[in-house]
Amino acid sequence: MTTSPNTKSADGDCSELAESRRKEAKRRSLRPVNEHFSSTINAESANSKQSLVKNSKGQNSRQTKATSQPHDSASTHVSGLSEYVDDRPEMQNELHCAVIYSTEAHARILSIDASECNTLDGFVDIITAADVHHNCWGPIFKDQPILAKDVVQYYGEIVAVVAAKTLAIAKLAAKRVKVCYEPLDCTMSIQEAISKRLFIGGERKIQRGDPYAKGPHQVTGKLIIQGADHFYLESNAVVVYPRENRLLEVHSSSQHPTETQHVVAEACGLAFSDVICIVKRLGGGFGGKESQAAPIAAYCALMAHKTNRPCRLILTKDDDMIITGKRNPFEIFYDCTFQDDGAIISLDAKLYSDAGAYADLSTAIMERAMLHCDNAYFIPNIFITGQVCKTNHHPHTAFRGFGGPKGVALIELIMEKIAIQISIDALNVRKRNMYRPSFDITHYGQRVENNMLPSLFESLEKECHYKARRKEISDWNRSHQSTIKGLSLTAVKFGISFTTRFLNQGNALVNIHRDGSVQVSTGAVEMGQGVNQRIATLVSSELGVPVDLVRMLSTSTERNANTSPTAASSGTDINGAAALKAIGLIKERLAKLAAILSKTPKEQWPSQTAGLGTAPEIELASPINPESKELKNKLDYECLFSDGQVIVRHHSSINTQPAFSIKFSDLVNEAYLSRISVCEYSHFKIENLGFNKITGQGQAFLYFTQGVAASEVEICRYTGDVKVRRVDILMDLGRPINEALDIGQVTGAFVQGMGWVTTENLVYNKKGLLLTHSPSTYKIPNIQDTPREFNVHLIDNDGNQANFKGTKAVGEPPLLLGISVWTAIQNALSSSPKHLQLEKIPATNEVILRAMHPDLGWTI
């Protein structure tokens, strides 16, 4: 992060321009009328029931002014005016595409016959593997065809794409394409893949300590973790416009516009520069559109390129769910030993994941799972192996948490099992093992800096009345016939950074216009998380202009190339830092200009003379080097960007003359007239990362986001039905840029995690067809499933030195707290005399009932 010489900034909203902008906006479009609103809603009280920000040091300790601004698209979202890919109006002669996918898990393609389509009025074209220029892609290994050639490897693999004048005709044409298959031997489970030794990549290891060190007690077992569908509401969508001279303009619902651009270009045989990928916003992504949006964009682009007509491909929810990969299923064999007091001595875990048919991101996901097997706990002797298995399922992919949840589920399960075995409260086992001073080096050799875990555990235990409720629950379980209750308090310590170093870079373009309004574009994709609002807040606060004046542009490879996916919770971290760097450079130039203007008679200012050439042009004397401390010390003035004004104070005359002040927009104009740039492009990279994937050791992460959650569940003894009665979450998010948006991430991620461990059940048939491929059968949490009482708090932590402005990433970590619902179910089941347990995610009603009533004659 850069700092400008002696420039300071603060928020403000009294600029005239902003006022006129607001008036204009009010007249033209839908904007909230604050006067009207303030009388009707009290936002403070609205939040206080659900989500309070705990601020032990008092409200003034943090810059709170802009920290609860609504999402920058909130007003258009609530009005239905936000534009998504399929909301783009249809162009004249636009074509609609439909996909033909494999109906076999593994088969040779004998023939593709589209002759029956030709008789269909309105049918235009079909493309198959033969039409693809470079028919191979993959985010890590290039192992996947864009359109299947000769062989299909999963049910749902795209074989051909048809285009027609209307969607109805395209769908009809797709049905008329006859594909003949010769089924081949298929592998449908991790167990099968292990026995056939079908693996992707080699076995990975992370280890520390003495492999022979053992404690007096032991828990062992096998944990089976199913996948989960992302269930973003907006299914994958693409519109492609062929522009002149081979240029393709791709509008895609992609979390990774750069990769989409590259895959499209290679598929079409174009240079990367011949393809522009634009993403305005996503109707949810959650990792599902990180890699897998790219080939879908390529189908549509190939058709547009071939026909030279605008093309649209919108997957239905059913097709999207059948075609695209999910969270990787895992099977974990574990053996953990510990002392009498529950202190873990050793953990030996073998992780196997189901990648599906192609590598996609599975090896990186496995790596993060292995890196998170410790979660919040210090394990002195640890031996973890990871092996990715190849099966004939859809290729599984990134999903919020990216492997982390699997490692964390394992160790949190072990905590519960240790507690049962030595008959102490699981919370005591956790506190006994948590990272704490002197016990703060992870198994991959990174120190847990700024470790808040001990205080998080302590605070939440107190605030959620853990002990009292534990007693109430024990009493309940003794005295009630029809339901049993469970309570569990788990933690998360989530590593922030891509574990692949080169992805930890971002860039930003900031254009300030002559009226003082600002446009910012970065590589970050807005998918609901509020990255745009956060970056706009940072920028407006740095420039001292109202956030209304900062417009975040769509993510486009035209403006920001070679970007990383918006993933790994890193969107704001890397792109916000890049934007700050650009702003710093602009501010430095503006500050110098303001200092010069302050000593220049107004009649000689460029606005008075530049057109006439009557005064010499203002030159910014010294070369710009923001890192130069010497330069800063030499400066004899300070400059403040605040309230739409730029204020200069000369040290020499600080007591004799009033400060010089100029309107921000006027200063920008003077800069332009002086031929000084008020635009900037900056590149940012995260320093000091060094994780060696071969040795499994090193600085894998920049910092950790931490949190704890206590969940209480009530289970019907007759049906296995689970109710989540109460959830308390306490998180360390450093100094949030926007607390309300952060809390929204916490509640959303938690409920998503809760769905994964309870009701979300992927059921496949023998051919690998997903049977639960729509919301009528695949059950994400409904509003009725949310905790009856749901308290979310943030702690005050100004100590995160690793990231700019002491912020911490929030996107993924709270999802892992959803695991507390699963361990609470474990806890409830363990209250029975037999200490019943389940070692499966999700814990559906059926799974729970099986665990509760092993006597009911289960045959399968």
Binding site: F37, A46, H77, S79, G80, M527, V763, N782, G857
Partner: protein, 548 residues
């Protein structure tokens, strides 16, 4: 991961497959008016009755859709034909609520705007209604109280579900004053109203905040804007009139105002006719390419079918009565039925889906069927025979003859259903289990009803009725058990033995399937446990009656 091979695709629906051939079919066709056999649809229909075109209001503007448009789903039509993409489509099956719009139907007793799923609602069905979409909510440039609350409380993240939530919450504000809801109940009322909307970003907490912080503001009431006197008058003059659409190239739309005309149409259409109660299930099949009927027969303009009646002993529900109306009618009459309807489907579905639709669908799980079975329901059907309307009364337990097949003949319609009101000494329980509690099709459901005779400190069971759904090709009564239970004298110990024995015998008798909702073993285990639960609840009841 469990691999299963069967898949049930059942839902609430009105349509009836042509599975049962009636012997008098050919004979009676000739007896009907000669003009119907040949010629275009318009001449055929206009020969029978006066008709008018499809007409409704969209955000206060009059709309007369073309024939082609009448067969589109409302959400598609709004997005692709009206340039109103604010209404989103996610699942196209009425399970996510992103497509929620509000309709007011002057055919109903109370003329309120209620939320529906526009992805499974044909444009033709909008006839005579006032429709409001997300584009019609704000007042010029000023956001409505719902929109403001959603914005201020951060109720939207990615925004894709947001229009649907705004519409559902607007429906809530239209139906009741927030100020009148006690603070303690607000959360529950709002939660119940939002059961039909899925959100994947927020975890619902901020949305619930927004809902609880909405304020009443009469300036934004849609009734004032989209149901003014002129609109109501115009709509009322258009309902209860026959309308039809279509030519020989496309499908046929027919919505008569007389039952007789509907029956004649059914009789004379050679191609596949789908009967529309509300299209909440047919719409799903239509969207997913599983049903492409040539003709739609809508019953909504037939006034007689909208009637429901509660007598001292019985309840009678017409074919066009929505589940929401049934729920209203059952309040204070049959609380167990109300409980069942509370967790059945979503408000959006219940506002249009009909009880008869659920019955006609004949799903083996059947949602309401097991309960209606223990309430001795009787299905009333009508057909044309010898040029006259012929009515049949079929007890519900004789109605289903196999998987999704019933005693309903291809040229018959269900006109109404009757069922018993609970007697004072009735003890009834309905149990349903599904993957998710709300808005989910049951894995299994069971209803048990007993009349209890109390004499000389002992309880005797009279008229026990037990029905189970999800354990075979149809939901069905378990007569063998009922016989065993009849006249049994119950105490807290005998009920345990009786239910245990019953569960064992039922599990021997029935052979449920494994599917994506649950394994056969799970279903068997549930039978056992449902009876245990019943025993426990019945024991408590006995205790409260002072039985040892």
């Amino acid at each position: 991961m469990r691999h299963v091979t069967t898949k049930s695709t059942t839902k609430k629906l009105m349509a009836k497959k042509k599975t049962v051939k009636h012997p008098i079919e050919k004979k009676s066709t000739r007896n009907l008016s000669a003009g119907i056999q040949n010629g275009s649809l318009s001449t055929r229909i206009s020969a029978n009755s006066k008709s008018s075109e499809i007409f409704f209001y969209l955000n206060g503007q009059e709309v007369r859709p073309t024939a082609e448009e009448a067969f589109m789903m409302t959400a598609d039509w709004l997005r692709k034909r009206k340039g109103m993409p604010g209404t989103k489509i996610v699942c196209a099956e009425g399970d996510c609520g992103a497509c929620t719009v509000l309709i007011a139907d002057p055919r109903k007793e109370s003329l309120d705007f209620v939320p529906i799923n526009s992805c499974v609602y044909l444009v033709g069905q909008l006839h005579g209604k006032s429709v409001v979409t997300i584009e019609g909510i704000s007042n010029g440039s000023i956001l409505s109280p719902v929109q403001n609350a959603m914005m201020k409380c951060h109720g939207s993240q990615c925004g894709y579900c947001t229009p649907g939530f705004v519409m559902a919450l607007t429906g809530l504000l239209e139906s009741r004053k927030m100020d009148n809801i006690p603070a303690a109940q607000k959360r529950k009322v709002c939660t119940n109203y939002l059961t039909g909307n899925l959100c994947r970003c927020t975890g619902y907490a901020p949305i619930l905040d927004a809902a609880c912080n909405m304020t009443d503001d009469s300036n934004y009431e849609l009734k004032h804007r989209y149901l003014n006197e002129k609109i109501i008058t115009t709509l009322k003059s258009n309902i209860w009139k026959t309308n039809q659409m279509g030519d020989k190239h496309g499908p046929t739309w027919y919505s008569p105002n007389q039952l007789e005309d509907a029956l004649k149409f059914l009789k004379n259409q050679k191609s596949s006719v789908k009967i529309l109660g509300s299209t909440t299930d047919l719409g799903v099949l239509y969207n997913k390419g599983k049903s492409q009927p040539n003709a739609f027969l809508s019953l909504q303009n037939i006034k007689a079918l909208h009637a429901s009646k509660v007598t001292p002993k019985q309840v009678q529900i017409g074919a066009q009565v929505s589940l929401e109306s049934v729920r209203g009618a059952m309040k204070n009459i049959d609380s167990e039925f109300v409980n069942l309807l509370n967790i059945f489907a979503s408000p959006q579905i219940k506002n249009v889906a009909t009880l008869i639709g659920n019955v006609a669908n004949g799903s083996p799980i059947g949602d309401t069927i097991p309960y209606l079975l223990v309430r001795n329901a009787i299905v009333y059907t009508s057909g044309i025979s010898q040029g006259k309307i012929r009515e049949r009364k079929i007890p519900l337990d004789k109605f289903y003859i196999g998987y999704k097949t019933s005693a309903l003949e291809s040229q018959e319609l269900i006109t109404k259903i009757t069922f018993d009101r609970p007697k004072a000494n009735n003890f009834v329980r309905h149990y349903k289990i599904s993957t998710r509690k709300d808005l989910d099709i049951s894995t299994m459901s069971m209803a048990i009803s007993l009349d209890c005779e109390f004499s000389g400190h002992q309880f005797t069971i009279k008229q026990p009725r037990i029905a189970i759904g999800g354990m075979g090709p149809t939901a069905a009564r378990i007569y063998s058990v009922e016989q065993k239970w009849e006249h049994q004298i119950l105490t807290k110990t005998t009920i345990l033995d009786l239910t245990h024995e019953t569960a064992c015998s039922i599990n021997l008798e029935l052979s449920p399937l494994s599917d994506h909702r649950g394994s056969a073993d799970y279903r068997r285990a549930l039978i056992t446990n449902f009876f245990s639960k019943f025993a426990s609840e019945f024991s408590q009841f006995l205790e409260s009656m002072g039985v040892p």
